[in-house]
């Protein structure tokens, strides 16, 4: 059944263009970094491609009244280009994707947002950060990343996991490979698994005064950086993270069409779920419009909607605000919502107020990475080498 017109911009080219204008200004700001100078023609082309791409995405979100498919296009590009540019930068600066004792002793490991979960408890008890990174300066310094994590969690709650996380695009992509899932039913109780991982990781990190998840479990080391194999323990760690990447980021998302890594294994996802409680945006189901077809429960990539949630009129706190359930609802019963306002009213305002900061976040994270990625790909096709 075709979706009915829901938002004032849906199907209206004029209104969509009008609402696009402020976003275009933000896209210009964040794709140029505030200065219009390009080193060469390739940089200019990379800028133009990303500029047109983001404007097109946002226009389509407005014009079509659909969110997820356009969000996912940008989000997946973010993950792929982030991995490409990060690895190329590492190889250029260090000669390989591995880090050694020298990198650790120099405290030059970039601080990733997932580490936030592991530093909180030791910070309280020891008054220091248990991570070998730079507080300020360098690439991804600790203070800079903590500011981003705080700002984004306050503004979007777990929306971060669908609009800004530079890893989430991996299992978002793999979960879209098959048209229909091979494993049709995943127990919704698994949505709480990430909280168990969070608790274990927090305790282990506090006891060992080391970022346990990064050290042993993080599957995304496979597409960023990892310890040089110099001992049996490091070899074991390598086997663990490669296996986790293969199973949680590739195989299971393909088979289930769910974002298994983000849903069941990411401690940062669990922390962001908690921040959903203090965040102003949520997703609500208008029970008067809902026909209880339960389509939303089958499409939700994070197992955040089951029958009881639909009956309650809201997804679980693990909702990533990706918009998939909203797009799938043929009755337009599901929508972004601002807490404290009536459900099912002012749908355009609620959607706009969420989509604007969320899409801005996507642009901020993706713009530079995408341009650098395009430059690298051009280099690869013209010279045969990325370096």
């Amino acid at each position: 059944m075709k979706q009915q017109k829901t938002f004032s911009t849906t199907g209206s080219i004029g209104k969509s263009f009008l609402w696009l204008l402020p976003m275009t200004l933000l896209i210009v700001l964040f794709t140029t970094g505030g200065k219009f100078s390009f080193d060469d023609k390739v940089s200019l082309v990379a800028f133009l491609i990303s500029f047109i791409f983001f404007n097109w995405l946002f226009f389509m979100i407005l014009y079509k009244g659909r969110t997820d498919r356009y969000r996912a296009a940008g989000f997946i590009i973010l993950a792929l280009f982030f991995a490409l540019t990060f690895i190329v930068n590492l190889i250029q600066s260090r000669g390989s994707m591995t880090f050694s004792n020298e990198t650790l002793l120099a405290c030059e490991i970039p601080f990733c947002h997932i580490v936030t979960t592991m530093v909180i408890l030791p910070l309280i008890f020891t008054g220091s950060i248990i991570f070998p990174g730079q507080i300020t300066g360098g690439f991804a310094p600790i203070a800079g990343m903590l500011v981003i994590v705080l700002g984004v969690m306050l503004a979007l709650g777990r929306g971060f996991c669908s609009w800004g996380c530079f890893y989430g695009g991996w299992d978002d992509a793999t979960s879209r490979i098959l048209k229909k899932p091979v494993i049709k039913k995943v127990n919704p109780a698994f949505r709480w698994a990430a909280f168990a991982v969070l608790i274990i990781v927090v305790i282990m990190s506090a006891i060992s005064l080391g970022p346990t998840y990064c050290d042993w479990l993080c599957p995304f080391k496979a597409v960023t950086e990892f310890e040089k194999v110099t001992s049996t323990i490091i070899l074991m760690k390598t086997i663990v993270f490669v296996s986790l990447f293969a199973s949680l980021v590739i195989i299971l998302p393909v088979l289930t069409k769910k974002r298994i890594q983000c849903t069941t294994f990411c401690p940062m996802g669990a922390l962001c779920s908690l921040s959903n409680k203090i965040n102003v945006f949520d997703v609500r189901i208008d029970r008067e419009k809902c026909s209880s077809c339960m389509k939303c429960t089958t499409v939700c990539p994070t197992l955040s909607l089951e029958k009881s949630d639909v009956e309650k009129g809201r997804p679980a706190m693990t909702c990533m605000k990706c918009g998939k359930c909203i797009d799938s609802c043929t009755k337009n019963a599901i929508n972004y919502h601002i807490k404290g306002t009536p459900v099912g009213k002012n749908l355009t305002a609620a959607r706009m107020l969420f989509i604007f900061p969320a899409f801005t976040l996507l642009v901020i994270f993706t713009a530079g990475t995408m341009q650098q990625g395009i430059i690298l790909l051009v280099k690869l096709f013209t010279t045969g080498s990325l370096f």
Partner: protein, 154 residues
């Protein structure tokens, strides 16, 4: 009452709209402010801690760090002391042999022998609290050695 609630709700949502660009545009400044907070420092387990003594010679500078016995609460049973060698001429001698008094009690605690070409490092303990080498690694133009220690107080 419900209607009244909608006003702060929308205001809060509008504030979130601004929060994202502000977080990134002002990131450097906010991070700089955050870095000034007392707890914004990297744990000595990673940095090696504070330098407590240094010996400067024509061809080699030796820096001895405060022993690190970090634990979540109190001190751990085992820790390490970091020793760093650097050369004023930026070229480290191939063989470094140094006697170290890590606790500054005027009695030598261990002898450190480092081959900077091969990385082979030997610790000869002269104090029962001194254990073996934990890490021995080049660090740009310097060389860092961490020697395991037992905690006297545990």
């Amino acid at each position: 009452m419900k209607r009244l609630l909608t006003i702060p709700a929308y205001l809060w949502a509008i504030a979130c709209l601004l929060l994202i660009p502000v977080t990134f545009i002002g990131n450097e400044s906010f991070a700089g402010q955050m870095a000034k907070l007392k707890f914004m420092k990297v744990n000595p387990v990673y940095t090696g801690g504070e330098i407590t003594d240094s010996v400067n010679e024509p061809d080699l500078d030796t820096y001895i760090y405060k022993p690190v016995f970090e634990a979540l609460i109190g001190e751990s049973k085992e820790g390490f002391v970091q020793v760093k060698f650097s050369s004023p001429s930026d070229t480290l001698p191939e063989i470094i042999t140094k006697t170290i008094d890590y606790n500054l009690d005027d009695s030598n605690d261990f002898i450190l022998e480092v081959n900077t070409a091969t990385g082979k490092t030997i610790v000869t303990s002269m104090n029962p609290l001194v254990e073996d080498v934990n890490i021995s690694s080049r660090l740009k133009n310097e060389w860092v050695v961490r020697v395991g220690l037992k905690n006297l107080l545990k």
